[in-house]
């Protein structure tokens, strides 16, 4: 995986596959260059044992391939920087995946095109799950939510090309301002 925004794309697919209705994504960069990415969903969740197993390289509930990949891969990339990935989950309640990346570590992946990740998720799932994005850095903070956007647009759907372009551009402006200096 080339960058952190692609790991986010991949982890969001897990939430969608788990039947989430709401996915909250928090990205926070602190003064020391530590990036915390937290993905919380209200999907079907996992038992503690299943969550533990999901971090071994051989766990998947998919039937097309025997090994899961996404979580162990993200964890490996977080650990390369001195960070980690942890899972908090409960069956029928939901899942929170928290990743920390030390962005000043030489092995840290670039953030990548966060705006395109969110836009792609919205374009492919215009009727939900809802996405709540919150971005924080020493330079400020901003938020975006599909529920409010859908309300403003009603009855124009979120996957209207002009809307997807608007989401992409506005998130790009925000991420440039907040995370621009930091890779």
């Amino acid at each position: 995986m080339r960058d952190i925004s692609l790991h986010l794309m991949d982890l969001a697919q897990n939430s969608i596959a788990a039947g989430a209705r709401l996915i909250s994504v928090d990205l926070a960069l602190d003064d020391n260059g530590v990036l915390t990415m937290r993905i919380t969903d209200d999907g079907r969740g996992m038992t503690p044992e299943a969550a533990q197993r999901a971090l071994g390289p051989f766990a998947t509930t998919r039937t097309t391939r025997k090994v899961g990949l996404g979580l162990p891969l993200t964890q490996a990339n977080a650990r390369l920087t001195g960070g980690d990935l942890t899972i908090a989950s409960a069956p029928n309640e939901g899942t929170t995946v928290t990743c920390t990346f030390y962005t000043r570590h030489i092995d840290c992946l670039p953030l990548g095109d966060l705006a395109q990740t969110i836009a792609a998720l919205v374009a492919a799932h215009p009727d939900g799950p809802d996405i709540e994005l919150s971005l924080t850095s020493p330079k400020g903070e901003s938020a975006f939510g599909t529920a409010e956007t859908r309300d403003i647009l009603h009855p124009v759907p979120l996957d209207t090309p002009e809307v997807i372009a608007w989401i992409t551009q506005s998130l790009r402006e925000q991420t440039d301002v907040l995370f621009g200096g930091e890779r």
Binding site: M9, Q13, A124
Partner: protein, 129 residues
């Protein structure tokens, strides 16, 4: 965040079009992009957005783009299926953004599949090699 006024503008501009789009499910074209770990790592996200962008640029209101999970052919990712009404699905493999745009121009708009990007073509080449 870019101004909410811009969103209101977009709403006004696009309001008339949505009725057209809703009425006619029969003539809907579907593009489905594989978006599992293997697909994402191979470049599925820019492929998907190239489909979305090219379809928007050409004002093709009868086309929807969606995504699916892993179908177990990781080495052929990024992959996409194109469904035209009343026709067999066409599976494209090893895509990139430029190939996606060409598929919109030739297959989605003009109804002629881009044979060289299809899975059938990829398998034939493998047998010959």
């Amino acid at each position: 965040m870019k101004s909410i006024a811009e969103l209101e503008e977009i709403r006004k501009r696009t309001l008339q079009r949505i009725n057209l789009r809703r009425e006619d499910k029969e003539s809907e074209v579907r593009v489905v992009v594989g978006m599992a770990t293997c697909g994402i790592a191979a470049g599925a996200r820019p492929v998907m957005m190239a489909f979305v962008d090219e379809i928007g640029r050409r004002h093709l209101s009868q086309v929807t783009v969606s995504q699916t999970g892993c179908i177990g052919m990781c080495r052929l990712e990024p992959m996409a299926d194109v469904f035209l009404p009343g026709e067999e699905k066409v599976t494209y493999v090893n895509l990139d953004a430029d190939k996606a745009r060409r598929i919109v121009a030739e297959h989605v708009v003009n109804g002629r599949p881009v044979t060289e990007y299809t899975i059938g073509n990829a398998e034939n080449n493998k047998q010959q090699a």
